[in-house]
């Protein structure tokens, strides 16, 4: 999952980037409203965390123009302005959620997880649970039939992305774009390696390879044990 954080406070942005990075998100950070407006619309982000008091261009204007331009990426507004009138204005402008500063980091994590689930048609679900697998996002572990299976950070973010796109063909390019931030060197062989690791831990049938197309997540069907 690739996130864009638009926040002009460097200290907070550093904390958020580090914190979300530890949670397996690929995070890009921007501080200026005008940059954000361009990059938010041109890069394939899965979610945008947007501060309202930005240099260059106010956050609400950036959001309005994204929406006017047809951008459907979920946007979480992160702001110190906590009045209901502002909250309503934010949601009217097209935000999907609104979190006021100061906040607990775990609260932000929960909101991001829930927004991502909702954006992928998995609303009304307290956890990410697809195809017989339950992903514990706080511990970066997957639970199958009540058994914990520990994942590495890379495996975790790959599995999360696939679980949020169940029964869909996901290309390698798509995976590269959504699992790595703008700075990292991308190597498609790495993806193959991680897919193989996941198959070893969860069973071969979990991820199907479609030659020339990409991967498809099936999950563990009832009855299959290996």
């Amino acid at each position: 999952m690739r996130l864009l954080i638009v926040e002009d406070d460097v200290a907070l942005a550093d904390e958020l980037t580090a914190d979300l990075g530890r949670s397996g998100y690929a995070v890009d950070w921007l501080a200026d409203g005008r940059d954000a407006q361009y990059q938010g619309a041109s890069e394939p982000y899965d979610l945008i965390v947007l501060d309202l008091g930005l240099p260059g261009k106010p956050g609400l204007d950036v959001l309005r123009e994204w929406r006017a331009g047809g951008l459907t990426t979920p946007v979480l507004i992160l702001t110190a302005r906590d009045h209901w009138a502002e909250r309503i204005d934010g949601l009217k402008a097209g935000a999907d959620d609104y979190l006021t500063k100061p906040f607990h980091p775990e609260e932000l994590q929960l909101r991001i997880q829930s927004l991502l689930r909702r954006a992928h048609g998995l609303a009304n679900q307290a956890h990410l649970e697809v195809g017989g697998l339950h992903l514990d996002e706080s511990r970066q572990a997957v639970i199958r039939n009540g058994n914990d299976i520990i994942l590495t950070a890379a495996e975790f973010s790959l599995l999360r992305y696939l679980m949020l796109h169940p029964q869909q063909i996901v290309s390698k390019l798509q995976l590269l774009e959504h699992l790595y931030d703008g700075e990292t060197e991308r190597d498609s062989n790495v993806i193959e390696v991680h897919v193989n690791h996941l198959r070893r831990k969860l069973g071969k049938a979990v991820i199907e390879t479609r030659r020339g197309q990409g991967y498809k997540f099936h999950g563990v069907t009832a009855g299959s044990t290996s």
Binding site: D9, L12, T100
Partner: protein, 449 residues
């Protein structure tokens, strides 16, 4: 304070009455004096005639009746005379001398005035007549002769009296007409003042934000000053709200950083440090939110502020539905249908947002808001079908600082901020049992005057 209209009426009426009375009285007096003067010279002529009519009769001096006007023969004709001979003894013994009297006086004896000439005061005559008396002193036949001629002045007095009544009546009618006209004129002249007053009233009710500038030049400075004051107040309020918002922003972001640092894995080895720091940070956060909310309220409500229910409630409910992303039925109703509340939009959104947010946290399926306007009060009622609050604990909840709802996600500040806003709007807040089964919060706000 008396109205301008009333003052003008009283002033005009008293001036008119004073001047009218003085004028009437003076003209009557002038007329009276003139008339008396002319009648006096007539009387003097009459006295001269009488002197000429005195003849030496066989025994004594007598009046030649043939040379007298017949009016002196007819009783109470209003023309009388008395002639005193031996006038040097007149004062001591009136009866020793010879007295000639007109027949018209009948049994009445004219009083002899002390000085000659036309008398200043009227004398008494027969049949309650008031007489204008003239005394002429002459010398004839070697004797002092005093001739007193009198003329009935009552008809003149009566006509004066009549004139006075007519004048009073006419004056009274004129006064009433003038006062009515003046009332009309004053009312028309004060019309702009009245319209300004209407506008100030609308201002208070929040139907306008400034006064109309199209006023007569006498009123222009007043209206301009009021408008300037309004603008000034609005700007000051906006500035201070902005300043507070900026302060909040400035403090909240570092606080968010602290929260994040506190959650770092390096610190997880010292759970008690992390826990106490987190508690303190939470404390700061809550105090900050509460105090910022309160400081924002400290300014007087902006003139012209209003809250249009039909416009503001749908987005608020959409927001709530969005925040509480579960199967909740939110419902609102206002009586009458199109209700405009005379309070600041942000204050009411804050009040309703917090109340409804709380209700949504607790409700199992339903939350209802009812706003009713009754006389000079507006009643806001929020119902939910959650667990409710035990009657014994309701007072405790309303006490500042108590957080019964702290175990539910969110700040648990809701009711505290609601209380602050209700206090600010001089309203009352009470907790009751809802017919839906949960808690009912009733807020009654007095309409600003």
């Amino acid at each position: 304070m008396k109205s301008i209209q009333q003052r003008l009426s009283i002033g005009l009426a008293s001036v008119l009455i004073l001047v009218g009375l003085a004028l009437a009285q003076t003209s009557l007096w002038l007329f009276d004096t003139g008339l008396r003067g002319s009648l006096g010279s007539e009387l003097q002529l009459e006295a001269d005639n009488l002197l000429a009519a005195l003849v030496r009769g066989e025994t004594s001096i007598e009046v030649d009746q043939t040379r007298l006007s017949p009016v002196y023969q007819r009783p109470f004709s209003g023309r009388y005379f008395r002639i005193e001979l031996q006038a040097d003894r007149i004062e001591q013994q009136a009866d020793t001398g010879l007295t000639l009297r007109s027949r018209s006086a009948w049994d009445h004896t004219l009083v002899i005035p002390e000085v000659a000439g036309l008398q200043k005061s009227l004398g008494d005559g027969p049949q309650q007549q008031k007489l204008l008396v003239y005394r002429g002193d002459y010398r004839r036949f070697g004797q002092d002769v005093a001739i007193i001629v009198a003329r009935d002045y009552t008809p003149v007095l009566n006509s004066f009296q009549r004139l006075r009544w007519i004048g009073l009546g006419a004056g009274g009618i004129a006064l009433v007409v003038i006062l009515i006209l003046q009332r009309v004129i004053v009312r028309r002249a004060l019309q702009p003042l009245d319209s300004v007053r209407q506008q100030v009233k609308q201002l208070q009710q929040g139907q306008r934000t400034e006064l109309d500038n199209q006023v007569p030049e006498e009123l222009a400075p007043l209206v301009q000053q009021i408008n300037r004051l309004l603008l000034h107040t609005e700007e000051t309020l906006k500035r201070s709200r902005n300043a507070l918002g900026n302060l909040g922003h400035a403090l909240k972001t570092p606080l968010a950083v602290l929260f994040s640092i506190n959650a770092r894995s390096e610190l997880q080895g010292h759970p008690e440090v992390v826990e106490s720091m987190r508690a303190q940070l939470d404390n700061i956060r809550q105090r900050l939110a509460r105090e910022l909310g309160r400081a924002r309220l400290a300014g007087e409500a902006l003139p012209g502020a209003h809250f249009n229910c039909a416009e503001e409630l749908p987005p608020l409910f959409a927001t709530l539905q969005h925040i509480h992303d579960r199967d909740l039925q939110l419902h609102w109703q206002t009586t009458p249908d199109h209700l405009r509340l005379p309070w600041d939009r942000e204050d009411l959104l804050e009040l309703l947002g917090n109340l409804l947010d709380n209700a949504c946290k607790w409700a199992s399926t339903q939350v209802r808001l009812a706003i009713t306007q009754a006389d000079a009060r507006v009643i806001l009622m929020v119902d939910d079908d959650g667990p409710g609050i035990d009657p014994a604990r309701r007072d405790q909840v309303l006490n500042r600082g108590t957080r019964l709802d702290e175990q539910v996600a969110g700040h648990g500040l809701g009711l505290g901020i609601v209380r602050d806003i209700v206090d600010h709007l001089a309203g009352t807040l009470s907790l009751e049992r809802s017919p839906l089964g949960g808690l009912r919060v009733v807020i009654s706000l007095p309409a600003p005057t």
